[in-house]
């Protein structure tokens, strides 16, 4: 076979040409549609700006829940969405802004949400617990600490950005 000159029969030639032309047509038809469909994956994610949340003077050593509202643009729908954070000052006087989203399955945690654990964050969905610094209590459902918000203090006001995940215990 390899010794001889490769012969392409008329039938084979027509087959190749037709498959090629047909494939090209199908591809040019489908390419824009596929690009259209996968657009959300390829869109650059817009990093949210820092939002003013609360006066620093209001932050105590006990975690308090602060809320702020942002304008959310969801394709053709614009709405105001409220975010919240548990914020306190630790013994080194550093501000700790914790995300209230449970790392187990995304419920919302509360400080001292359970009477038996007055100095822990508690998630009512599956009894997940976190210490005051946001570290998850071992042998409870969550397997990572609560996210920490990016933050900065400007003119005595706390600004919060995106929640950043931390390494699990």
């Amino acid at each position: 076979m390899s010794e001889k000159k490769q012969q392409v029969s008329r039938r084979q030639f027509l087959n190749y040409t037709l498959t090629g032309v047909g494939g090209f047509m199908a591809a040019s038809m489908l390419a824009p549609m596929v690009r259209f469909a996968i657009d959300p994956v390829l869109k650059a994610s817009t990093s949210g700006e820092m939002q003013p949340v609360v006066d620093v003077s209001e932050i105590t050593t006990d975690p308090q829940r602060f809320e702020w509202t942002v304008k959310q643009v969801d394709a053709w729908y614009t709405s105001d969405v409220t975010h919240s954070a548990w914020v306190y000052k630790n013994e080194k006087d550093e501000i700790i802004p914790l995300s209230p989203i449970c790392k187990h399955l995304g419920c919302t945690v509360n400080w001292a949400g359970n009477e038996s654990y007055p100095d822990q964050f508690f998630c009512p969905c599956h009894d997940g617990r976190y210490f005051k610094d946001g570290k998850n209590v071992p042998d409870t459902p969550p397997n990572a600490p609560l996210d920490l918000y990016e933050f900065e203090v400007k003119d005595g006001t706390l600004y919060l950005g995106k929640p950043v995940p931390r390494e699990g215990v």
Partner: protein, 224 residues
């Protein structure tokens, strides 16, 4: 590789006769443009089908962004046209294809008419073809409303008034299409969307299947 995969499946379920039956049949000389160039007139049916496939595909993709709701319909169309990559192309395909499909359908009908290809024993297929034509027109009509802009709205107002002119059942027909006795609005849009993407395509698939099965059964009509 592909051959092996094909053989593996074919050995088990014997698919060769299936596709042979659909794809592998002789083209009579009088239908082959290579023999008589004028035979290109036989292409219009196939072209109608081809454009219909484009319509189905582009329509499926458009519903990924479109919402049939009076508050958001126009905005979602505007969004997919201006913010989504290739949005203009995909909507353009559906928009222009809608006109092209009617043109092709019409040329196909003219060919069949002037060649007398509708005569016995093919009258039934002519009737099915006419039904396909009506379904296509209805698809065009219901699709026209969906962008929910001024042109769409007033075109539909006019259409509904035409429907109202039908003797005896006119008023009922109008309410049935409209979803409300007087308001052209939320219910009209929801209804037209449902009709456009579910009911009419379902009818179209059945009719096309019947149309094609009959062609295979009866063969293409002989030369003039």
């Amino acid at each position: 590789m592909l051959q092996k995969m094909y053989d593996w499946i074919d050995e088990r379920v014997d698919i060769t006769p299936l596709w042979r039956d659909i794809a592998d049949h002789e083209v009579p000389e009088h239908v082959n443009p290579a023999h008589h160039f004028s035979a290109f007139v036989y292409c219009f049916g196939g072209l109608t089908f081809f454009v219909t496939v484009i319509q189905i595909l582009s329509g499926m993709f458009l519903t990924m962004y479109y919402v049939p709701d009076i508050e958001n319909a126009w905005r979602s169309v505007y969004y997919l046209q201006t913010q989504v990559q290739a949005g203009q192309i995909v909507r353009g395909m559906h928009h222009w294809g809608a006109s092209v499909v009617i043109v092709m359908l019409f040329l196909h009908t003219l060919r069949v008419f002037f060649q007398g290809a509708y005569k016995k024993p093919r009258e039934l297929n002519w009737m099915v073809g006419v039904l396909i034509f009506f379904v296509m027109l209805a698809l065009g009509l219901t699709g026209y409303l969906l962008p929910w802009d001024n042109k769409a709205y007033f075109a539909t107002v006019v259409t509904l008034q035409i429907a109202e002119q039908v003797p005896f059942i006119g008023e009922m027909a109008k309410t049935l299409l409209n979803g409300d006795p007087s308001i052209v609005g939320a219910q009209t849009l929801a209804r037209f969307f449902a009709i456009h993407v579910f009911f009419l395509p379902a009818a179209l698939f059945v009719l096309m299947a019947v149309h094609f099965i009959m062609i295979r059964k009866q063969g293409i009509s002989g030369p003039l």
